[in-house]
């Protein structure tokens, strides 16, 4: 292991980002570029009756207008499958502008292409579209009577109901029970860069610069919808301005951009406006959850029943799998998790950071806190006691660390001095409290084989390639470290190239799997090339290393050295030049373990928060957060800390600020901008600490890397809610915990 792996090196793309020179997908300069703008439906359910384009066309600068009357029919009907599976990954089993039917507010009904942003916007506003409107079901309240229990989620990929033991009997027999109900507002991702696709045709070949979390997913989806060979679709993305799940699936605008470019015979850039980003790339759905815990007086869980009700589109059985977390981090023989759905007039919801786990853990972890108080037990100890050495199928953890995370977090927040009595600490007008939550996020091996290429030139410089995309996760930096480590070269001589479907395949970096799968493929490519180079050297009678066993050669700084005699060495470059090899390259691949691998696979963590609650006004301010996580090998602690920080602060936003709802009169999202859909700002940020607990994991890949993208958010909101209880004595059953929720005792539940 070279010192570069695990080092807190700065981001290699940092200078591009701080100078503004990095090009995002809406910043590609192409001759003749035209500007596309989607026009969304103004009703939530109904039919387009007429579209008068005359005023729009007369406005000037318009190259073309697509509507359902002239949009090409898709070659294959879209079928929703999570992008991690490595198949076409449309965000919904629906493609707009194929007929006149409107299923949800904001559904694309037209696309205007013009010579400037301003011309496109003006023409779009001049399109005169009339609708026949039907009564819509857009909220849980609208459709409660039509709720049904789903059989499967995610396009049939996973069961919607999970049952072990006999939960009903166990609850009846439990010495202590906790029963709690929750209402959660919808969330919107709101990356700072709205989704954008720039499309250019060259004959039959299509190039897309797409702001995506998975270039391969974009390629697969667009090729399928257009009915063209994969080899004719190239997707490039070098910088993505945040994703958080909104760019994990491939939404209609990507293919519409390609259709528009073909229609007008020019490259087209199609950017979602900020308001459109609320109706174009999914959301975390409005949902209700109920959790019932049964336990013995000793605190051991005997039953967990976790139910969820949410609203989905009319075409997909989509729900965040919210109940899974309840059967993962604590041991319990009797479990039931189920998802009920209402089909309504919204677009298909989608992955939103910590999808399922964030709200599922809110229910579980606030219920665990109630249980601790019910039993008079310490909430940290209750969690440690219930965290088993094996998962609920009896499989050992690939790596654990949860108890250590809880203990270390307790130290950081000063838990030992905590008086558990709620509602007794006051500072000025504020009530003060602290809270804890456990965290776990699964490692999901559903991706296909991953590839990377390592290539060394005869001057010793190196290029490592995979199709991975950089949306803030630091992949270009951490994979440079992995490549340098695997090959035995200095990071300075290595360039990591990514974000292009012409490069070896990796799957979308979603589900916190990016680092695991990419590092595994890159490591294997680098190792394969290193082994080839050593094999060349020991077989080369002109090499000082000639005749050595490959295993007795080590490499550092691009120099192969005998482990037996350090004076015997030569550089990769010398060996290549002598052999008239201009370069040498190797493809590395990684086949993930089977989905059913006999291990419990999770990244564990613990969350702690301290809050100040205005005793009269109900406003909650988080003063401190401490998160401790056990993500296996940390490739770059600086970057991993940033991602975990980000997740924890997302939890803060989810706890206190972020909530959207549909206006029942119009079927439209009530909040559609960053002035009213509130995300945390600088002034909301508490004193925050992140630490790691070291665990070794030899199951999840050659380097033992588990993800950090989402576990930082899991439990964060629950820790805040538990702290609010400790401060006020009020149990929170609604998110976000706005002033009125706290003032009114915690919510309707």
């Amino acid at each position: 292991m070279s010192p570069v792996l695990g080092k807190p090196v700065n981001r290699v793309d940092g200078p591009d980002k701080v100078t503004g020179t990095g090009r995002y997908c809406g910043e590609i300069v192409l001759p003749g570029l035209a500007y596309g703008l989607i026009v969304g439906a103004d009703v939530a359910k109904g039919r387009v009756v007429s579209i008068d384009e005359s005023a729009a066309r007369a406005a000037g600068g318009v190259y073309g207008i697509l509507t359902h009357r002239n949009t090409p029919k898709v070659a294959n009907a879209p079928h929703l499958i999570p992008s991690l599976a490595g198949q076409p990954a449309p965000g919904e089993s629906f493609f707009p502008m194929q007929d006149d039917v409107v299923h949800y507010w904001g559904q694309p009904v037209a696309l205007v292409v013009a010579d400037s942003l301003e011309s496109a916007a003006h023409a779009a506003a001049l399109l005169d579209i009339t609708y026949e409107e039907s009564p819509a079901v857009a909220t849980i309240e609208d459709g409660r009577k039509s709720a049904y229990e789903a059989e499967t989620l995610f396009g049939g990929l996973m069961p919607a109901r999970d049952e072990r033991g006999d939960v009903t009997a166990a609850l009846a027999a439990a010495e202590v029970t906790v029963d709690a109900s929750y209402r959660y507002a919808a969330n919107h991702h709101n990356p700072l860069e709205t989704s954008v696709t720039t499309a250019q045709w060259d004959g039959d070949r299509l190039t897309l610069w797409d702001s995506t979390m998975g270039v391969r997913a974009s390629q697969l989806t667009v090729a399928s919808l257009l009915g063209i060979p994969l080899s004719d679709v190239r997707v490039i993305t070098h910088f993505v301005g945040g994703g958080f799940g909104s760019k994990a699936m491939v939404w209609p605008h990507v293919t519409l951009a390609a259709m528009a470019a073909r229609h007008v015979g020019r490259p087209v850039r199609l950017t979602l406006t900020r308001p459109q980003s609320f109706t174009s790339n999914g959301h975390r759905e409005e949902q209700e959850q109920r959790i019932t815990l049964g336990a013995g007086r000793d605190g051991r869980l005997t039953a967990i029943r976790h139910q969820k009700l949410s609203i989905t589109s009319s075409f997909d059985d989509w729900a965040e799998p919210a109940t899974g977390v309840s059967t993962q981090i604590y041991g319990c023989d009797n479990y039931l998790g189920s998802h009920s759905l209402i089909k309504g007039n919204t677009m298909t919801p989608t992955f939103t950071r910590a999808p399922g786990e964030s709200l599922g853990s809110f229910s579980l972890e606030t219920a665990m806190d109630r249980l601790a108080y019910e039993l008079g037990m310490d909430p940290v100890e209750l969690r440690i006691m219930n965290h088993p050495p094996v998962d609920n199928h009896g499989n050992p953890w690939s790596s654990d660390g949860m108890a250590d995370c809880l203990r270390r977090g307790a130290e950081l927040i000063g838990w030992a001095d905590r008086d558990p009595t709620p509602g007794v600490r006051q500072e000025g007008d504020n009530l003060i409290g602290t809270g804890v939550a456990g965290a776990g996020y699964p490692v999901a091996f559903m991706m296909p084989v991953q590839h990377a290429r390592a290539r060394i030139f005869n001057d010793g410089s190196v290029v490592i390639q995979t199709s991975a995309q950089e949306f803030g996760i630091g992949v270009t930096t951490s994979m440079s470290q992995v490549g340098a480590d695997g090959l035995g070269v200095d990071m300075d001589v290595l360039r990591f190239e990514a974000g292009d479907t012409d490069l070896p395949n990796t799957t979308s970096a979603v589900g916190s799997m990016g680092a695991t799968m990419q590092s595994s493929a890159v490591h294997n490519a680098a190792r394969t090339l290193r082994n080839e180079l050593i094999a060349h050297a020991v077989a080369d009678d002109k090499s000082p290393l000639h005749g050595l066993s490959p295993s007795s050669v080590r490499v550092a700084d691009g120099r192969m050295t005998s482990t037996l005699d350090p004076s015997i060495s030569e550089s990769y470059a010398d060996m290549l030049q002598r052999n008239r090899l201009l370069d040498l390259e190797a493809l590395g691949s990684w086949t993930p373990p089977p989905f059913t691998t006999p291990h419990g696979l999770l990244t564990f963590g613990a969350q702690f928060a301290e809050v100040a609650v205005d005793k009269d006004l109900g406003l909650v301010r988080v003063r401190r957060m401490a998160g401790v996580f056990a993500p296996g090998r940390v490739l770059n602690p600086k970057l991993a800390r940033s991602q975990l920080l980000g997740g924890m602060l997302w939890g803060l936003g989810q706890a206190l600020l972020e909530g959207n709802q549909i206006d029942r009169q119009s079927g439209r999202w009530a909040l559609n901008n960053l002035g009213e859909y509130l995300v945390p700002v600088h002034a909301d940020i508490p004193d925050i600490q992140v630490e790691f607990v070291e665990v070794e994991d030899d199951v999840v890949g050659p380097l033992g890397v588990k993800g950090v993208g989402e576990v930082g958010q899991v439990g964060a909101a629950a820790a805040i809610a538990n702290a609010v209880f400790h401060a006020t004595g009020r149990r929170m059953s609604e998110l976000p915990m706005t002033a009125e929720v706290v003032m009114n005792g915690g919510g309707a539940g």
Binding site: N10, R11, D13, G14, P15, D16, K17, V18, T19, G20, T21, G22, R23, Y24, G26, E27, V29, A55, A58, A59, G60, S116, L117, E118, N190, P191, L192, E193, T194, F239, V240, G241, G242, G243, F244, T273, R274, F471, G472, I473, G474, K638, R641, S642, Q643, L645, G646, M648, L649, W650, N673, L674, G675, V679, P680, V681, H682, A683, I685, I688
Partner: protein, 174 residues
């Protein structure tokens, strides 16, 4: 253009709605270009001058990604008409590094990992440098309050604060 000018005022000097010559002073250079009056400073920079470092996050004045300086003051270029900037000096992120050398604030952002996706970063940096010049960064609370017009969805805020503190303290301490 379909625009009713039948009641146009009897004043001279009305420009547009067609493209008109406009001279913009950006980062010390003069750019004679043609713009319609409805073009924002942000779109003029990005679409007409290919200065894409200034980012469009919302186009509504709610995120701060488009922060630039006009006559040295930080403003939102999405809510500024380019034509109204004639005669004023515009500074963007592209003009901050000198001779290939990162500005200390840019270097501090890199060192403290004060960004993830990088999309809000130019705006954060334009605000942060201006903040120190404004002299309102004495306490952590001051920094947080006066940076709050720049949203970072990746939530790199703690690291941004650390970067600003470092540059502030280096300025103070020499």
């Amino acid at each position: 253009m379909a625009i009713n000018q039948s009641t146009a005022p009897a004043v001279t000097g009305v420009r547009g709605p067609e493209r008109e010559p406009v001279t913009l002073d950006v980062n010390g250079s003069t750019f004679p270009i043609e713009l319609e009056p409805r073009v924002s400073l942000l779109d003029a920079l990005r679409e007409h001058l290919d200065l894409t470092g200034t980012k469009k996050g919302c186009d509504q004045g709610t995120c701060g990604a488009c922060t630039v300086w006009v006559d040295g003051r930080r403003v939102l270029s999405c809510l500024t008409l380019a034509m109204s900037c004639e005669g004023h000096q515009v500074s963007t992120i592209e003009g901050i590094a000198q001779d290939g050398e990162l500005h200390p604030m840019q270097q501090a952002f890199v060192d403290h990992d004060a960004f993830q996706c990088g999309y809000c970063t130019p705006g954060q940096i334009m605000s942060a440098i201006a903040l120190l010049r404004e002299g309102n960064a004495t306490t952590d609370a001051d920094i947080a309050e006066h940076m709050s017009g720049n949203i970072c969805r990746c939530q790199a805020y703690p690291n941004i604060h650390a970067a600003i503190r470092e540059v502030r303290d280096a300025d103070d301490g020499g």
